[in-house]
Structure formats: structure tokens, C-alpha cells
């Protein structure tokens, strides 16, 4: 970053900049989804883009995820670079066959004849009292599928750099944003930059316990680390930034240093991203662990509608502090 004071922009602006820059750079890129054009984006991510790029590249769709996801996949196979916006990843489930069975397998099943360079993006995780069916955190479910990439940024800076990489990627990318973070502001430089996939970011350095997280819960980890530091426990908070590929090397390096590991993940615990990270830590750093790996996930229940219950069900700083203390034998 530059020495001059970096401008602060919102997460949604960072996403918009990434898409707009890539669309200016590459005429094959287009955006398609519900209310992305006339309404300027259901969450105002694509605000102003219709005006700049016109209706042939900013395309409103009917409420038909299965249809427009498939349309995008076909376009990608034929050489375009679609960005498909799901208003919520919860709605992607009706397009499961397209996004899980077609996109990630096309290159393999066509013997390399057809690639599928497509970005699916939208809000992931609990948006706040949206009920069980609209509060999906899909990373646990979708990271089980080979052939796709999953990016899950936690800051405007990461969001922009990762989305630009996603749009240039030759494989299908699932780009997981959060409704709750779209208004978050953060430093994003004017000049162009890209962030490679599979490179974690150490959001806070520490020596006493490694905390690994992805997406929105990274902020809860930082909050927990702040409070723990006041008690003399210095946590290292690693933001994986992409789940596939997973930057396990950075995690292992940190665990070897601290001896303790807590994984925080907003998916449900059974077969979660946290479970996978824990398994890989055991596989590669068993002899460096002074305790078992602790997981902080969403509770194993459908997301409640009640505000209080929903908060209780999701990972939060209190749960993370408790896990770190248990992991480090301080509780």
C-alpha cells in the first residue's frame, strides 16, 4: 500500500470496482442476476453499472436461478466470462444441478474441450433474522465438491483483489459475500491490485494461539483476540481468504509456533470447513499440538428466526474466547 492515506470505501463499492474494472478490461465479462440492472442491485452492489455498460452486459433475470445459472454456464463454455449474482447463496440451492453438477465438472467430463470460467457471487451466511431457509452458509456444503474454487473475503481490500482474480480465473469460482459486511468500510488503494487464491492473510500476529477463520467470522476472531490480549493471551488470527484452495501451509506454520489451534467457521459443525482444517492440522502438525484443535461453528440446528436464538447459534467473540481459553488450558 502507498504511504499516502489510503481511501476508505465500502465492501459493496470494492466489489463494484472489481467488476467494473474487469469489464472495462475484458469485453467478455458480463453481470447477470436478479435486479442487478434497473434496480441498481438488490444490495446496491451494481449501482451505476447499467449506465456504464448498458443492458447487454448488465442483465436482469427473472426469479429463476436454475435458468440463469445454466445460461451463464453455457455462456462460459462458449467463451464468455459471466458473473452470476445470486441475491443470496441460499437461493443457489435451486440451481444445485447447474452449479454443482455442470460447472465444476465440465472441464473434466468434456476431456478438456470445454472450460467453465464463471463467477457465482452473492450473500452467504446469516443475514439477520431471515429464517432457516434463507440463512445458508454454503461453504461447508460446497467445499466438498472438487472442480470449483471458493473465495470468502472479510474486508473490502480482500474482496476487490479476490474478485478480480476470480473473474480472470479459468475455473468456476464461488464467491461468498455477506449482507452484513456490505456496508463495512476499509482501506482500498486507487491503484490496481490482485490477490492470488490460496494465500491466507495473517490479520493479527500472535504467539499464544492460532485462530483460523474465513469470511465474516474473521471479525469476531479479531474482536476476541483484542479482548484476550487484554488478559495477556496473544492470538494469531489467520484469514484463509479462500477455502479452495486452502492455504494450509500458513496455518501449519502458525500452529507449529503456537502449539494451539482454534478454527472458527460459520458453517454447521458436521463435515464443516473447520473439520477439514482440523483434520489437515492433525495430519501435518500432530507433534506440534499441545491440545486438540477446537472448532467454533454454528450450532447444529437450522438457523432460528429469533434474533436472540440466531445470535446464540452463530459463532461470536464470546464463544471464540472460551474456545481459546480451553485450547490453551487456561479454562
Amino acid at each position: 500500500m502507498t504511504a499516502v492515506a489510503t481511501r476508505q470505501i465500502q465492501f459493496r463499492e470494492a466489489l463494484r470496482e472489481a467488476m467494473s474494472e474487469e469489464m472495462r478490461r475484458d469485453p467478455r465479462v458480463f453481470l447477470m442476476g436478479e435486479e442487478v440492472a434497473q434496480y441498481q442491485g438488490a444490495y446496491k452492489v451494481s449501482q451505476g453499472m447499467l449506465e456504464e455498460f448498458g443492458p447487454r452486459r448488465i442483465i436482469d433475470t427473472p426469479i429463476s436461478e436454475n435458468g440463469f445459472a445454466g445460461l451463464g454456464i453455457g455462456a462460459a463454455m462458449m467463451g464468455l466470462r459471466p458473473i452470476i449474482e445470486f441475491m443470496s447463496w441460499s437461493f443457489s440451492l435451486v440451481a444445485a444441478d447447474q452449479i454443482l453438477n455442470n460447472a465444476p465438472k465440465m472441464l473434466y467430463m468434456s476431456g478438456g474441450q470445454f472450460g467453465c470460467p464463471i463467477v457465482f457471487r452473492g450473500n452467504d451466511g446469516a443475514g439477520g433474522q431471515l429464517g432457516s431457509t434463507h440463512s445458508w452458509a454454503v461453504e461447508g456444503l460446497f467445499s466438498n465438491v472438487p472442480g470449483l474454487r471458493i473465495a470468502i473475503p472479510s474486508t473490502p481490500y480482500d474482496a476487490k483483489g479476490l474478485l478480480k482474480t476470480a473473474i480472470r480465473c479459468d475455473d468456476p469460482v464461488f464467491f461468498l459475500e455477506s449482507e452484513r459486511m456490505l456496508g463495512n468500510k476499509g482501506p482500498v488503494p486507487e491503484e490496481e491490485y490482485l490477490i492470488a487464491f490460496g494465500v491466507a492473510d495473517i490479520k493479527r500476529a500472535g504467539t499464544d494461539c492460532t485462530i483460523v477463520s474465513f469470511g465474516r467470522p474473521v471479525h469476531f476472531c479479531l474482536e476476541a483476540a483484542e479482548k484476550l490480549a487484554a488478559e495477556g493471551i496473544e492470538c494469531e488470527v489467520i484469514d484463509g481468504r479462500t477455502i479452495r484452495p486452502l492455504d494450509i501451509d500458513t496455518i501449519i506454520e502458525s500452529v507449529k509456533k503456537t502449539g494451539y489451534c482454534v478454527v472458527v467457521d460459520q458453517s454447521w459443525p458436521f463435515g464443516s470447513v473447520a473439520s477439514e482444517v482440523a483434520a489437515q492440522v492433525y495430519e501435518r502438525a500432530m507433534d506440534y499440538l499441545d491440545n486438540r484443535v477446537y472448532r467454533v461453528c454454528s450450532d447444529d440446528v437450522p438457523a432460528p428466526y429469533s434474533k436472540v436464538l440466531e445470535q446464540a447459534m452463530l459463532p461470536h467473540a464470546g464463544k471464540i474466547i472460551e474456545a481459546v481459553k480451553k485450547a490453551t488450558y487456561l479454562a
Binding site: 488478559e231 495477556g232 507433534d287 491440545n291 488450558y329 487456561l330
Partner: protein, 453 residues
């Protein structure tokens, strides 16, 4: 080619053994069949013979080390092979201390075989414990912070690695983690590194607590640590298992011991020339065996969805071991006690007890009891209760025959009374059945002539 001698599996349940003693040293010539070392398992201390002749090239396991089955304990050089060649072929540095990983090198793998009855090399089991260890109630566990309830030492992988890198014996480290797990801070404290940080860590996290707590438990103020013998671990494990999984209840009866003491005195007087001296316990063994005949459920074992009634009535007798030999207790088994006369019971019990206190009982001599007697009469104990010795259904706790004011023939008199307390597994034996068994037993003991026929 060098021969690797590995930790043998000496029992079905053995996972690791403690090397108690080396009977040979590096450079010694050994013959096939020669005992190389004494190995303490979870059940007994046994001798480990070699099946090959050779010269001891390298001892890899220090005395006192607990070693997993299959790990190399020593390297034997074959005839015509130099010690250096042998060590080299296995790939262990000559100066390397106690390398315990199993090396494969060019060496022939040789696992010292376990004990089999047909082994003519007289593999004697110097048993110190178990099979029936832990019958009497007096044996309560001190527990240990270094071992879990299951008796296995818990160590975090990191702590184990640091200990290995520093040649630290983990048996000497006190674990402060959950279930006494040895963790990094414990090992560092034992190594004298960063011990202050280790001690400070908990208080750092909870300053309010340490300020108000009158006693901060740290590894430094807990006094001397005593490592547990395998027997002590076994007693702890089995008795916790018994007391926490078997629904115990007790029934007591007071036995008029006068007829028994009179008969015993008469018999002993007559048999003195034959060097026979019957003890009260001998009568008890015989009486219990005969009573079990009438109450076959007392010979049963709980199998979860069924009962297994023993074919043979094998009465176990709890034998306390001398304090100077580390204490503890074992249960010696008198097989088919119902088919043996008092004289035979007496002779066998004496022989087993002497052996238990001396070189120790074999696994066989401690196995298969179906009912146990724990007698603390020799300590003038009035009354006590005992913990069932799994998989038995019951155990009889016998106090001393003490002089007491008693009512005999509706008159107050002085007589000997002996308290017998039965602990029963309620899954197998209901209260009334327990009471009926004691009634039978009391009848026999108060009319001891029935025990002679």
C-alpha cells in the same frame, strides 16, 4: 546379521511394558533361552528370554522406561559379527542414548515370544499383581495426576516431543491438563525452562481468581510424586470400574464363632504332629464354596444381556503384599474349592500366600476366581465392607472373631462373634438372596462339623 530384541506381547491386553531390570549388559555373551530382562506388564512381572545366542551389542531401553509392544529394546550381534557391525546394520548411533524407535535397517526382526506353557526354557512368571488384584475394600486408589482413570499416561503430542528432544522421562512429570494430561508447560517446568511462565500462565488469564484464592495449586507445592506401579494402576482401574459400574449393596450377619474356634483348636492339636495348622480362613473358604453350591447365582458373572454361571467354584482369597515390597494386594485362586477338604485348602492357601508375598503368583494362579473372600480378622477389624472383584458376583468381608457380651440360651454370656459382610452385585443377586446365602453360611460356620464331611 544383527538381531533386534523387541518388546514382546506377554498378554492379550498388553500394549506396553516397563523394563524393570536388565539381566545382561552390553558386551555380554548370551545363550538361547537366557533371561535378558524382567518386564512388568499391566498384569505381572515376567522374564524375557532370548531365542537366539549372541553378544549384546546395544541396549536401547533404559531401566524404568515404558515401551510399546514391538519397539526395539536391544540389539544382539550374531556369532562372527562385531558389535559395531551389529549396531551399524540396525542403524543406531553407538553414542545415541536410548533410541526407542523401531529401526528396520538390515537387521532381522525378532520379537521375544511371550510365555507359553510348553516353553522348556522355564519362563517363570514373577507375578506381582492383577488377575484378581483389588478385591479388598482397603485398597483405594490414590489416583495420579500423571495418569488418566484408565491408567494410561496422557501426554500431548507437543509435550511428548519436547520431552523426547530433551531426554526427559515423562514418568517423572506431573500433568496439569485435563485428566492429568501432561502438557507443554508441565514439561517445560520439569526441564526448568520457562517454569515461571508456566506457573504464571493460569493466573495471567484469571487475575481475579488468583488474587482471592487462598492456595494456588502449582506443581511446586504438591509434595513428592510417587510413580505408580503397574499393580497400583491395575488396582485403581479395576476398583473404579467395579465401584462405578456394579450396583453394590451389603448385607451383614454376626456369626457365633465359638464352635468354630473350639473345633479348630481340637483339630490343630490333633494334627500338630503332621504339621497341619488350620486357619479360620480355611474354614471360611470351605464354607463359602459349599454355600455357593446351594446358591449357584453366587458363582455367576454379569454379561450384559445374560448371566454366565461358572462351572467350577473357584474361591479367591485376597492376599495383602508386604509394604517393604511395595504393598498392594492380589487375589489367589483356590480352584474347585468345593471339592477340596480343609487340609488341602489350608495347604494350598498357605502355599499361594507365601508365593504371592515372595516371588509372586502366576497369571493362572490369580485367574478365574468366581467369588472372593477378604479377611482382615488378623488386624482385629470388627467389621468392614469390600468392593466386588470383577467379574465376581459377590465378595465376603470377614472381621475378627472378637470376644463380646452375647446372648446364648437366653442368657448373657461372653462369646466370640465374627462379622461377615457380603457385598453383592444387585444385577445378579437380590437382597433376600444375599440374606439367604448368609443364613446358609452362618449355619455352616456355627455347626462346623458339617464342613468336615
Amino acid at each position: 546379521m544383527a538381531i533386534e530384541i523387541k518388546m514382546p506381547r506377554l498378554s492379550d491386553t498388553m500394549e506396553a511394558g516397563t523394563l524393570v531390570k536388565w539381566n545382561v549388559k552390553e558386551g555380554d555373551k548370551v545363550e538361547a533361552g537366557q533371561v535378558l530382562a524382567d518386564i512388568e506388564t499391566d498384569k505381572a512381572t515376567m522374564e524375557m528370554p532370548t531365542y537366539d545366542a549372541g553378544r549384546v551389542a546395544k541396549i536401547l531401553c533404559p531401566v524404568g522406561a515404558n515401551v510399546a509392544v514391538g519397539e526395539t529394546l536391544m540389539i544382539l550381534a550374531e556369532e562372527g559379527e562385531s558389535i559395531e557391525q551389529a549396531v551399524q546394520s540396525v542403524g543406531v548411533g553407538a553414542g545415541e542414548p536410548a533410541a526407542r524407535e523401531a529401526k528396520t535397517g538390515g537387521a532381522r526382526q525378532h520379537e521375544a515370544r511371550g510365555i507359553s506353557e510348553s516353553t522348556s526354557t522355564a519362563t517363570i512368571m514373577k507375578s506381582k499383581s492383577d488377575a484378581g488384584a483389588g478385591a479388598a475394600s482397603a485398597a483405594t486408589s490414590n489416583g495420579s495426576d500423571g495418569e488418566s482413570a484408565s491408567g494410561r499416561m496422557l501426554v500431548s503430542p507437543l509435550a511428548r516431543r519436547i520431552a523426547e528432544e530433551n531426554d526427559l522421562d515423562l514418568n517423572a512429570v506431573k500433568g496439569t491438563g485435563p485428566q492429568g494430561r501432561i502438557i507443554k508447560r508441565d514439561v517445560l517446568a520439569a526441564l526448568g525452562q520457562d517454569a515461571s511462565a508456566a506457573a504464571a500462565a493460569p493466573s495471567k488469564a484469571a487475575p481475579a481468581l488468583s488474587a482471592s484464592a487462598p492456595l494456588l495449586i502449582t506443581p511446586t507445592n504438591l509434595g513428592g510424586k510417587v510413580s505408580l506401579s503397574s499393580m497400583r494402576q491395575t488396582i485403581a482401574r479395576r476398583l473404579v470400574e467395579s465401584k462405578t459400574t456394579i450396583p453394590h449393596y451389603q448385607v451383614s450377619v454376626s456369626v457365633n464363632a465359638d464352635p468354630l474356634l473350639d473345633l479348630r483348636a481340637t483339630l490343630n492339636e490333633q494334627l500338630a504332629s503332621q504339621n497341619v495348622k488350620l486357619s479360620v480362613n480355611d474354614f471360611l473358604v470351605r464354607a463359602c464354596a459349599l454355600a455357593i453350591h446351594q446358591h449357584p447365582h453366587f458363582n455367576a458373572a454379569w454379561k450384559g444381556d445374560s448371566l454366565l454361571i461358572g462351572e467350577h467354584i473357584n474361591v479367591g482369597v485376597a492376599v495383602a503384599l508386604p509394604e517393604e515390597r511395595g504393598g498392594g494386594l492380589v487375589v489367589a485362586t483356590l480352584r474347585d474349592a468345593d471339592r477340596k477338604g480343609l487340609r488341602q485348602i489350608s495347604a494350598e492357601t498357605k502355599a499361594l500366600a507365601d508365593k504371592a508375598r515372595g516371588k509372586g503368583l502366576s497369571l493362572e494362579e490369580m485367574a478365574d476366581s468366581t467369588f472372593t473372600i477378604s479377611n482382615l480378622g488378623m488386624f482385629d477389624v470388627d467389621f468392614f465392607t469390600a468392593i466386588i472383584n470383577p467379574p465376581n458376583a459377590a465378595i465376603l468381608a470377614v472381621g475378627a472373631a472378637l470376644k463380646k457380651p452375647v446372648v446364648r440360651n437366653d442368657e448373657l454370656a461372653i462369646g466370640h462373634e465374627m462379622a461377615c459382610t457380603l457385598s453383592c452385585d444387585h444385577r445378579i443377586i437380590d437382597g433376600a438372596s444375599g440374606a439367604r446365602f448368609l443364613q446358609t453360611l452362618k449355619g455352616m460356620l456355627e455347626n462346623p462339623a458339617t464342613l468336615l464331611v
